[in-house]
Symmetry: C2
Subunit: 194 residues, 2 copies
DNA sequence: ACGGTTACAGATTTCAGATTTTGTATTCTG
DNA sequence: CAGAATACAAAATCTGAAATCTGTAACCGT
């Protein structure tokens, strides 16, 4: 049911998120979203040009929700860059795994975006790469990492940890040894960075 | 059509491979395999307990087909271990990509096995890990790699290159920069190995 | 008995027709 | 006129009956 006042994008996003959580991305329709808001589905189209755009916007908001915790680690100059990199990667895995486990339907919606090369997914990766690059740049500046192209190196580190953050591989995030596996890969990468 | 003489497992595998190539894993049926052999589908069940077992056996044979080329690199003691590791990883990507491109239906069948945790897929990975471990052990023996648990290190290297060999990520193997990306990751890993 | 066929039950897939859903255009209401 | 409802066409999805497929058992012919 609609709260009151005129309909705005943010309200629609929340309703869509609820509907998505309830029915999952395969079943949720924009008619459902309208029903949730006590409004016709056409009203939703006044604010979003298509269902795809709506899903994209929901996922973008959802992804940004724990973005800040990660960004906080990346920019915490108290921690020396090597440990910071490790913490960041561990936190990334933890965050992704928590999302996959606690909100399976929204995670499934996100997976669809990734396989569909949607803008939200691309932007999300770009954001993470940016954070990674900052940590690497800090380390190169203070001498704890060998000098190299920070952007390229960030991409390499991100790629080398694909197994721990790519949503298509989420199925194996529950297997027991994974924390240790990340540890070993981290160690290898940190040694490689200097 | 059946060649002649009694039906044997190898003949069935070849027929199944043809059928799979023609119809793809989604459409291919055991009845098709029988037709291909000029035999009833029940005859096939005399040699394989289930359709799953049949698919498993076909994929196993298909995967083993270019296993030897890779094994040859892994055990070529002429090449110093660091360069050997790099060559092996490059060859692995090339082989996987060629299979995905040239035999999409058989590759799709293999993808299904992987997502279903089939024995063929598990054994295939174990085989590759063994080859990797051998290269690493050689390098540790001759001092070009830091000493460490070779099995664990092999798994870490394999994990760090997931993006380049996991069939679930095959969709992105055609994107232009990938060779270079592997190069950068390789460099990072080689530095990490010492 | 060996190497295969035919027969069959239950699960799965197919396909056409009915229903929903998406997205747009027009209409209504305050 | 702004904000939303209704109406509607084309596309996608659902449904359920018919067909096919899987796996087993009982049955030939040599």
């Amino acid at each position: 049911m609609r709260a009151n006042g005129p309909l705005d994008a943010e309200t629609i996003l929340s309703a869509t998120e609820d509907v998505l959580r309830r029915y999952g991305p395969a079943k949720a329709t924009v008619v459902d979203v309208g029903k949730e808001l006590g409004v016709s589905h056409a009203a939703v189209y006044k604010h979003f040009p298509s269902k795809a755009a709506l899903r994209d916007a929901v996922s973008r908001r959802w992804l940004n929700r724990d973005r800040d915790a990660l960004a906080a680690i990346a920019s915490d100059t108290e921690i020396p860059p090597p440990r910071r990199l490790r913490s960041w990667l561990v936190a990334l895995l933890a965050a992704k795994r928590a999302k996959a486990h606690d909100e399976p339907e929204l995670f499934a919606a996100y997976q669809l975006l990734v396989t569909g090369n949607s803008a939200a997914a691309i932007d999300h990766v770009a954001d993470l790469l940016g954070q990674l690059e900052a940590v690497l740049a800090d380390g190169m500046a203070d001498g704890s990492f060998r000098r190299a192209d920070p952007a390229e190196t960030a991409r390499a580190v991100f790629t080398a940890t694909t197994r721990f953050h790519h949503p298509g591989l989420a199925g194996s995030w529950t297997q027991p040894g994974i924390e240790h596996e990340l540890d070993v890969v981290c160690a290898l990468l940190l040694d490689g960075l200097r």
